[in-house]
């Protein structure tokens, strides 16, 4: 059952990920955004299979909720009609494909050769309580710093969107 779920979610994630970057039917950024939502949902499913329940919930809430709504708002604000009539660049397509294929080959070879040390049966872990314990004890300083980062990001965004750029 778990194996079946893994293959289902993995196939969904990879196919939708492909449709985000190279949808053969539509060049519309809205279609890309929608397939990105599906990819993120499939990844949340994989997180559940890995017993990272809290992260699966956060993934849905933050990515599929907040981030994608932001993307859709910006797509709505910008007029992107011209995207659909631009053609693919042959050189860029071939060059990018070859480069990415080489990088994929390199990483796969590294994956085959490295000792991953995953012999033992994985324990059930990743409960929200254990995660919170670790977050608020050992990783308290990074947690506070991330809060400051969010504040800085917020101020920066307000400044960028308030000011009419001369």
């Amino acid at each position: 059952m778990e194996t079946l779920c893994f293959y289902l979610f993995a196939a969904l994630a990879v196919v939708c990920g492909f449709l985000v970057v190279a949808n053969p039917f539509s060049r519309n950024p809205v279609a890309s955004a929608m397939f990105l939502v599906l990819t993120i949902a499939a990844l949340a499913g994989l997180f559940v299979l890995l017993h990272a329940f809290f992260l699966a919930a956060v993934q849905i809430l933050v990515y599929a909720g907040a981030v994608m709504v932001l993307f859709l708002f910006v797509i709505m604000l910008l007029d992107l009609k011209e995207e659909e009539r631009r053609s693919w660049r042959k050189f860029g397509l071939v060059g990018g494909g070859v480069a990415v294929a080489l990088i994929a080959l390199l990483m796969y070879a590294a994956l085959r050769q490295s000792p991953l040390g995953a012999a033992g049966e994985p324990r059930v872990e990743g409960s929200t309580a254990a995660l919170g314990e670790l977050l608020f004890r050992q990783y308290l300083l990074p947690f506070e710093l991330v809060g400051v980062l969010l504040l800085v990001g917020m101020v920066g965004v307000i400044w960028l969107s308030k000011r009419a750029v001369p």
Binding site: L50, V100, V146
Partner: protein, 101 residues
């Protein structure tokens, strides 16, 4: 054959390469940005898989921080794209060539 760490890493690898391909090939700033998000998510998947199979919850903490930073990055990046669009009326990287000699 049961699902192991390698399976998750292969899925992560595929998603990362798709995202990289999108960043390299697509010329629309928004779609490039979405491809970047795809790459971040692929890294997250690898980290969660390592956390599970190596019995170390720090991987999940790392993913937590990555999600937070990615949210801040998306907000700032999209604000920059909107500011750029206001000034240049385009969201296409090929039209942004004013620094080209």
């Amino acid at each position: 054959m049961s699902v192991g760490l390698t399976h998750y890493l292969v899925v992560s690898l595929l998603l990362f390469c798709l995202g990289l391909f999108g960043v390299l090939v697509r010329r629309n700033l928004l779609v490039m940005f979405m491809s970047l998000e795809l790459m971040l998510n692929a890294a997250n998947l690898a980290l969660v898989a390592f956390a599970r199979y190596h019995h170390n919850l720090s991987g999940q903490i790392m993913v937590f921080f990555i999600i937070t930073v990615a949210a801040a990055e998306v907000a700032v990046g999209l604000a920059l794209i909107v500011a750029l669009y206001r000034q240049r009326r385009t969201a296409h990287v090929e039209d942004l060539a004013s620094l080209r000699l």
